[in-house]
Structure formats: structure tokens, C-alpha cells
Symmetry: C2
Subunit: 192 residues, 2 copies
DNA sequence: TTATAAAGCAAGTATTTACTTGCATGTATA
DNA sequence: TATACATGCAAGTAAATACTTGCTTTATAA
């Protein structure tokens, strides 16, 4: 029995097990066991397995503060801003790691989940474009297509995140700081 | 009933359904149905469901010709070589799309699959490093760390591929040619 | 044409799984 | 103390699922 209320423990166990075994693979028996709870309690709280997983998804879908960061923490110095943004974005991906991987696993099964996850890079891209445009106005980066800059930045981040998450062959042993000081530094160098 | 031998049809149906529904979600009944085959035939051929999926995995794990390409088709012109390599790599990812997504879904369940998939970007990275090193020797690209170049190139490719595959929000409506002419062009511009 | 192999068909089995019901136990609040 | 509420426990149900067996039908090839 871990910490938190009964409800929290069930939700946490559900997220973890669905991530490990997939929706079908995570049985209610296993979830109850890992939550240190009787299986019946699970149905009394959420009605059905689907209800439980939906509750779990909802709980983990906290509103991302990435947009906020891009409006407050930015100091208009590309060498400070981008590393900071990568760090925040990777942290966000890490926090949502399980639910992102679930959405890759269970694509289609939970439409709301798809949309929810898709929204993250989308809003991020839009805000990034604004940032790059302003930097360009100020003459702090080269004149280029801001959309390309933004998508490339996201592809880099997402590619690194996923290759590190699962297929740890290219990005193995590459910490976020390594990624920032090597790969992102190279990216920055190319746009100033 | 699609084309091919009975065996081929079963394997094809297995790959597709496991990709759509996950290993547990793809029932033998469904697989048989989609293959236009009696369910018993499936067991007579492969003994068990696991046997079938393993056979399917093995069949789809053709040796990648990426290494070969990097040794034969290259003409030592970065503006021609990289687009060509992206195209080939994206085609490879596309061909292995289903099995790559399966390996993300069923990570851990089929260890051989993990290794198999992981090998693709790994060998690609190594070959790329050699290519970049030679280009540098010839003074055709700027002096930089070849490993960073190679990983960034792969992150871009993989990030694009996955965001396009599933979370189609950032990369939606972005064709491979768009990706090459915009994002990769920007990458090329940054290293010459 | 005949022998052989591959596939279909029907029926069944054991197990798992999501979910239910009835009742006992504990625990907090009025 | 009494009343509500949350949880545990035991037992069960209906459906689905992987897999089997025995027999018939179809296609291949000698």
C-alpha cells in the first residue's frame, strides 16, 4: 500500500499498469493488487475499467504551463532561452511520459487522449513561432522561416525524447544536459 | 481474401491487427477473419498466437539497405545526398512503420523486437558519422562534431516520422518533400 | 485417376476477465 | 452511543479467448 487516498492509489496504479501492459493487458485484478485495494473497491469508485482509465487520464492531463513559461521566463537571449525551454519541455514530456506512451499504445481507443496529447506540441509550436519572430525583429537571430525553426526545434526535442524513452540506442547515455550542450547548442549556433 | 499464400495472409493480418489493437487486443478470431482463413488453420501453421506474431515479426525484419545506400548512392554533394538519405530513411521507417509502432506498444513483450528496431537508428548513426567525417575532410561542410550532426539528423527524422504517424498536429499536412525542402534544407544550410 | 497434403467446419474445453451481490468490519461524525 | 459511509471478503456469473479434436472437403501432383 503506497501513499495517498484509496482513489489516488487506484488511479496511479492504473496509469502505470496500462503503460506497462496496455489497456487490455492491465487487468482490474492487477490494478487493485498494485493499489493495495480490493478489486471490488475499484468498481465501486469508477463503475467500470474504462471509467477508471478515463479518470486516470483526466487526472494526468494537467494544463501545461509551457505557454506561460514562454511568456514570463524568456529573457530574449537565445543562448539562455532555448536551453531553458528545452529543459522545461523535456520535463513536461517526462512528467507526461507515461500518458504519452499510452496514447501511442492505445491510439484510437481514447479519442480524448489523442487530442489532449496532440495539443501539447501544437500550442508549443505556435508560441515558439511568436518567440522566434520577435527575436528576428530584434535582429538577434538570422532571417529565416519561423515555422521551420519551430518545427525543427520540436522534432529535435521529440525525437530525442522518444529515442531515449524506448529505443535507447542512439540516445542512450545522453542526458538532457548533454542534449542541450551538444545538440541544441549546435542548433543555436546555426540560427544566429 | 487478399492475395498471397495462406501463410502470408495470416502474417499480414497479424501485423496489421496487432498494430491496431495491440497484442492482447488482436484476437486469433479477428486475425483469421481478416486473413480470410479458418481460425484453426492459424494454429496448425504457427502452433500458438505467440508463434504467429513472432513469425510475423521475423518476416518484417528484413535487413535494412540503408547501410548499402550510404556506401553506393552517395555522390558527395550535401545538397543531393541528404535529401536522398532522408527519402530513403523515411521510406524505411514507413515500410517498418507498423512494426516500429508495435515495438513501441509492446515494449518488453518481445525482446527480440526491441533489439531489432533499436538496431536501425544505431547503424544508421554510425554510417552517417563516417559520411559526415569524409565530407568534412573534403572541406564540404563546416568543422563540427560529427556525432552531434548525426544524432541531430536522426532526431529530426524520427521526430518528424512519429509526430506525423500518430500525433498529427505539428507535422500534419507536411509531406516528406515538404520536410526535405523546408526543414532539412534549413539543417543543410546550417552546416555548410 | 489416385494418393497426399492443406484447409474448412463444428463442437468443445479450460481459463481468464470484467463485473455483481450480499454481508461483515471498521471508522469517522453527529 | 448511534448513524452513516467506505472498504474488505467470499462467492458467483456470463462472456470471451486461446487452443484442441475429429471429420469432411478441396486442391495438387504423380
Amino acid at each position: 500500500m503506497s501513499e495517498g487516498t484509496t482513489r489516488d492509489r487506484m488511479i496511479e496504479a492504473a496509469i502505470k499498469l496500462v503503460n506497462e501492459k496496455g489497456y487490455k493487458g492491465a487487468t482490474t485484478k492487477m490494478i487493485a493488487e498494485r493499489a493495495g485495494v480490493n478489486e471490488v473497491t475499484l468498481f465501486r469508485h469508477f463503475g467500470s475499467k474504462k471509467g477508471l482509465v478515463e479518470a486516470a487520464i483526466e487526472k494526468y492531463s494537467f494544463v501545461d504551463h509551457v505557454s506561460e513559461t514562454l511568456e514570463t521566463k524568456v529573457i530574449w537571449d537565445i543562448n539562455k532561452d532555448l536551453p531553458m525551454l528545452v529543459k522545461e519541455y523535456q520535463e513536461l514530456l517526462e512528467q507526461k511520459r507515461e500518458i504519452i506512451l499510452i496514447s501511442l499504445k492505445e491510439a484510437g481507443a481514447f479519442p480524448e487522449l489523442d487530442q489532449m496529447i496532440a495539443r501539447v506540441p501544437k500550442t508549443y509550436k505556435e508560441k515558439l513561432m511568436v518567440y522566434f519572430a520577435k527575436m528576428m525583429e530584434q535582429g538577434k537571430i538570422r532571417q529565416t522561416d519561423v515555422e521551420i525553426l519551430a518545427t525543427n526545434f520540436i522534432f529535435l526535442n521529440f525525437g530525442y525524447f522518444l529515442l531515449k524513452s524506448r529505443l535507447n540506442s542512439v540516445a542512450e547515455d545522453m542526458s538532457v544536459d548533454d542534449f542541450i550542450h551538444q545538440n541544441i547548442a549546435s542548433f543555436i549556433h546555426s540560427i544566429i
